[in-house]
Amino acid sequence: MGVQLGAIRRRPKGLAALWNVQNFRYLIQAGFLATVVVMAVRHALLPEGALTSPPSPEAYCPFGGIETLYQWITTGKYIHHATSSSLIVLGGVLLGSLALKSSFCGWICPFGTLQEALTGITRFFERRFRPVARFAKTLKARTRSLEVVDRYLRWGKYLMLAYFLYGTILAARMVFRPYDPYITALNITEATLGPGLIILIATVVLSFFTERPWCKYLCPLSPIVGLVGKLAPTKIERTSTYCKDCAICSVACPMNLPVATASRITAVDCNDCLKCVAVCPRAGALDLVLRWPWSKPAVAAK
């Protein structure tokens, strides 16, 4: 049967090691990213005058749904660049958040995947080339003092959300679109130098040094998904009885959350990638569980 709770989990070796939750997640993420890339290429090659297909992947962007929601409720119309698909995808994301917390961010969002892939390149070189690893270590040590700045910068996404919601309601148009790095990436062949391209380039460059910079600091969808996700029955919980405080979970967290000191991960920033659960060496110390939103963690943290 299963491993005894609290005992060290035996890691599979060889080919069997390839079959794990994180690789399964990467596979799903890659599937969604590939779908979006194919759609973007097919749309870019769309002949002038074509009526319906292939659609622009913009039609699948949930933020378009947020931007058109007010207009749709008040007038029954969509703002420009939004279609019924924008609202439906938003509905899918919110339903996913209600049931499974931030599963959209960690498992589906193609822009999150792109950022993770770029960070993955750095990690690859860090593992294989010592000078790169040394450089990364030095950089991390020198930028430790910026942790306070990081805390404040995370409020940026709430400001973005408030500003763009207010602007969209006031102007009845997609005020976020010129700033949206995801939309800029989808329309890269038509991109001109503007805020969208600058933010996209900054996100790409920063992704080599820090995980998911757009999600952490500016993504206006992230607070909505995170806040709705607080009602979800899925939780990541740490059981102090079995936890040996190795803090490997905190190190693995791409959003730099203090997993090792929490009894339950309640942060809006958590994207449910489950990296913390995957790296935990002790059976039963850190798990994904089903609980009522108002219930307390099963075992209090130390």
Partner: protein, 114 residues
């Protein structure tokens, strides 16, 4: 109760795609700015400037509103030799403008004519 992470991932995908394909099956899904959910081609309604779409041409706008293309180009400060059969978004973006700028002008013009 512990939840298997594999099951969690599968549920995330099924839920998301379920909503998308459910909407498609229900006939409420539309990704096109050119046709409605029922497949009808979107045309310009002169009473509603918002029906002017980026995929339409200057010819379409000129014909619908009865404004000579030259007047539109002059108002938008576009080169007078702009081909009227070009898509609005292509011309506007090439000249660092948005289709919304054209809509705003059409709105102002309509308000001025009243």
């Amino acid at each position: 109760m512990r939840l298997n992470p594999y099951v969690y991932g599968i549920m995330a995908v099924v839920l998301f795609l379920g909503v998308v394909y459910g909407a498609k099956a229900a006939g409420v899904w539309n990704t096109s700015h050119r046709v409605t959910e029922s497949g009808e081609l979107i045309t310009i309604d002169v009473k509603d400037v918002d029906t002017v779409k980026g995929w339409m041409t200057f010819e379409d706008v000129s014909k619908a509103f009865g404004i000579p293309a030259g007047e539109i180009f002059a108002a938008m400060k576009l080169p007078p030799d702009t081909p009227p059969a070009k898509r609005l978004k292509d011309v506007m973006h090439a000249n660092k403008m948005e289709v919304d700028d054209l809509r705003d002008w059409l709105k102002k013009r309509a308000a001025g004519a009243k």
